[in-house]
Each structure stands twice: as structure tokens, then as C-alpha cells.
């Protein structure tokens, strides 16, 4: 790294630790956060190079979601049977042969376990 830049960064950190001693101290004491399967599923669903579900679906805190598919809300009410939800993501064409939703499992866009993580996340919505 450029010397000046690293100097500036260190200075900023120093100033920050003086100004916000409490928050820094808290951050140090927090135990390491272990992402839950819902967190993992969320990041797969949001990643443009993985699920990229947001290109077609609204979900809470999505930025610039598309609207080609229905908003993903109240999933437990709409899919009392979790297996049906998984099948929709695995191969949407099994429910609707003319669907434009990509067959995530069938075409190996996501692995088995990634599909499960996405289901965990979607089911929490």
C-alpha cells in the first residue's frame, strides 16, 4: 500500500478510537459472529453471480429489484409444504412449463446445499 495512504488510514483509526472508544471496545468484545443458514442463504440469493433472485423478485431490503416474478413475502403461508417451495427453486418448470424462472438445481446453477440454504432464507420471509 502507498505509504501516505496507510499513514492516513492509521491516523483515521486512531482518531476514531479516540472519538468512539465505546463502540470500538464493544466490537472487540463481541464474539465472532457465525452466519446462520438464513444469512448464508440470503447472500446466495442476493449475489448476482449465484441466485441473483433480485433480478426478478422483490424481497425486503432489496435494492432495485426486478418485477418479473411475484414478491417473495409470507412464504410459510404460501408454501405450507416446504418441499413444494424447494421444488419451485430446484426446477420452476415442474410447476409451470412456460416459466422464465431459471432451473437452479436442475441446471446446476446452485448446488444441492446452496438450494437448501436459499430455501431456509426464503422460508424466513
Amino acid at each position: 500500500m502507498n505509504r501516505n495512504l496507510s499513514m492516513i488510514l492509521r491516523l483515521t483509526a486512531l482518531v476514531a478510537s479516540i472519538l468512539f472508544p465505546v463502540s470500538l471496545a464493544l466490537a472487540e468484545e463481541l464474539p465472532e459472529v457465525i452466519p446462520t443458514s438464513i444469512d448464508k442463504g440470503r447472500s446466495i440469493a442476493f449475489n448476482r453471480n449465484a441466485g441473483n433472485c433480485l433480478s426478478c423478485h422483490f424481497v425486503v431490503d432489496a435494492e432495485l429489484p426486478g418485477n418479473l416474478g411475484p414478491p417473495l413475502i409470507q412464504m410459510q403461508a404460501r408454501f405450507p409444504d416446504r418441499a413444494v417451495l424447494r421444488a419451485q427453486i430446484w426446477n420452476a418448470a415442474s410447476q409451470n412449463p412456460d416459466t422464465i424462472m431459471p432451473p437452479y438445481g436442475k441446471h446446476n446453477i446452485l448446488t444441492e446445499s446452496e438450494v437448501d440454504l436459499v430455501v431456509d432464507y426464503i422460508y424466513s420471509l
Binding site: 433480478s55 432495485l64 426486478g66 422464465i100 431459471p102 441446471h107
Partner: protein, 272 residues
């Protein structure tokens, strides 16, 4: 929905003996008219900018200083320049090549293949002993920009002779066939989902897809042809992009441009 089903039925008929391009075109136009009842067909020549007022306004502002103007000027000079044998492009085309883009691509019965304007330019060069131009290059972009410019306001009048039906059919099949890891057909996005939002992009109607090429695209930072866009649309669904002017893309252009018959040419254009 009823029309979509009717379209799928019309287009799932694959028997070449039943191919009827004009019936296809009428169904195609009817689909977009019922999908967008308040937008006249001709408006689709502006692509996504026909569908979103805010995007349209931004685009019109951009058009105050058209980014393709230099290409048209350069193209005019190139077009007039004589070949080493003293001939020039004008000798190869009807009307000296001016105002003729509405007739391209066409099916050449003798060669038994679809000839696009780009290919006709290279055939002309070959005939006069000149090396072909790179289809993806700037010179080809400039030449076609100039030829498109002289054709502005004309309406597409593509014909399909009986000998050309199988090329037309192949192009049509390409348009409706799903491909790539993401399993999309051209029609999944530009017919079935036209007007919808894919992230922040509004999906344009294929009825305006042929009118405005070549196009200066800010993303490309240069002028490019229709086949460059085909490559991009293929690759974004995880399918293989084909070579510009490959037979499959020429057939696709043939089908797509036939579907644009009657639409007014407005190239070259600019797009984001």
C-alpha cells in the same frame, strides 16, 4: 394471456410446410398491441425508451449530441472512397446503396443463404479485389451507420421467397428456443416478459429490435451491429455467443427483421 397461448401455439408449429411468415408477423404485432394497448407499434423502434418516460427523457437529452454522428460522417467518406480498381461500393448496390437498408437482410437464392448488409459490403469488396473488413470493427460500423442514416424514415420490406423459408424457420426457432444454463429464449425476455423489469432494466419489445442498427452503446463505448447485441444477450444467460455474421445469427436477423416489416428505420441510434 390468451394471446400468449395463441402465439405459443402458432410458433410451436414446426412443420416447414406450414410456415407462413406473414401470419407469424401479424400474430407478433397483435401480441405487442395487446400487451401495450397505449403504445403504438411504431413507438417500439426506440426500444426500452418507448416504455419508460423517465428513461426516455434522459435518452432524448443524450440525443442532443448524438454519439453516432462521427460514425456517420466517417462512414460517408469511407463509402465514397474508390477501391484500387477504381470502382466503389455504389456500383454494388441498387440506388448507389443509398436508402436501401429496409431491404436487408434478404435471401440470396443463388447462394442459398441470408445476406445481411454487412455481408453485402464485404462481398462487394471481395468482388473488387479488396480484403474484407472485420465485422466487429470500427470501419464496418461507420459504413453501416452511414447507410442506415440514408435509409432513415423508410419502412422494412423484407421478403421470404419459398427457397428462403427454411432459413426463416431456423431464425424463428432460434428466437423461441431456450438456451444456456439460465434456460432463456429470446422470447422469454423480449416477448413473454417485455415491459417487465429485470433488475433495473426494462425489457424492450422485439418488434422494434431491427430498426436502429448499428447503435452507439455507451457500455461498449463504440458503435456496434445487431449481432454484437445477440452475442451479449446469449452470453448473459450462460449460452455461447456465436460469431458475428455466422449463419445462425444471419437467420435470426432474417426472422427478426421480417417481424419488423412495416416498422420505420431510425438508425443509427444510441443506447445506454
Amino acid at each position: 394471456m390468451k394471446i400468449l397461448v395463441a402465439l405459443l401455439v402458432v410458433f410451436s408449429v414446426t412443420l416447414p410446410a406450414l410456415a407462413d411468415p406473414e401470419a407469424d408477423r401479424l400474430a407478433f404485432a397483435e401480441f405487442y398491441l395487446s400487451r401495450f394497448p397505449s403504445i403504438e407499434l411504431q413507438a417500439h423502434k426506440d426500444g426500452a425508451y418507448a416504455l419508460d418516460q423517465a428513461k426516455r427523457e434522459q435518452w432524448l437529452e443524450m440525443e442532443d449530441f448524438p454519439p453516432y454522428e462521427i460514425a456517420v460522417d466517417e462512414g460517408e467518406l469511407l463509402y465514397a472512397r474508390a477501391f484500387d480498381n477504381g470502382e466503389s461500393y455504389a456500383a454494388c448496390f441498387d440506388q448507389g446503396g443509398l436508402g436501401i437498408k429496409q431491404n436487408y437482410p434478404y435471401f440470396d437464392i443463388e447462394r442459398s443463404e441470408v445476406i445481411t448488409l454487412e455481408m453485402a459490403l464485404n462481398l462487394c469488396r471481395e468482388k473488387h479485389g479488396e480484403a474484407p473488413l472485420d465485422y466487429a470493427g470500427e470501419l464496418m460500423g461507420n459504413l453501416t451507420a452511414y447507410m442506415a442514416y440514408t435509409s432513415r424514415g423508410n419502412k422494412f420490406a423484407i421478403t421470404v421467397p419459398p427457397e428462403g423459408l427454411s432459413a426463416y424457420e431456423a431464425g424463428k426457432q432460434f428466437f423461441y428456443e431456450r438456451r444456456g444454463q439460465l434456460n432463456f429464449a429470446c422470447s422469454s425476455c423480449h416477448l413473454q416478459s417485455a415491459g417487465g423489469m429485470l433488475r433495473a432494466e426494462i425489457l424492450s419489445a422485439s418488434i422494434g429490435h431491427a430498426t436502429h442498427w448499428p447503435t452507439y452503446r455507451f457500455k461498449w463505448e463504440q458503435i456496434g451491429g445487431l449481432h454484437k447485441r445477440f452475442i451479449e444477450c446469449n452470453e448473459q444467460v450462460g449460452a455461447e455467443g456465436l460469431a458475428q455474421q455466422s449463419p445462425a445469427y444471419r437467420n435470426l436477423e432474417y426472422f427478426l427483421t421480417y417481424m419488423n416489416n412495416g416498422m420505420t428505420l431510425n438508425g443509427p441510434a444510441s443506447r445506454k
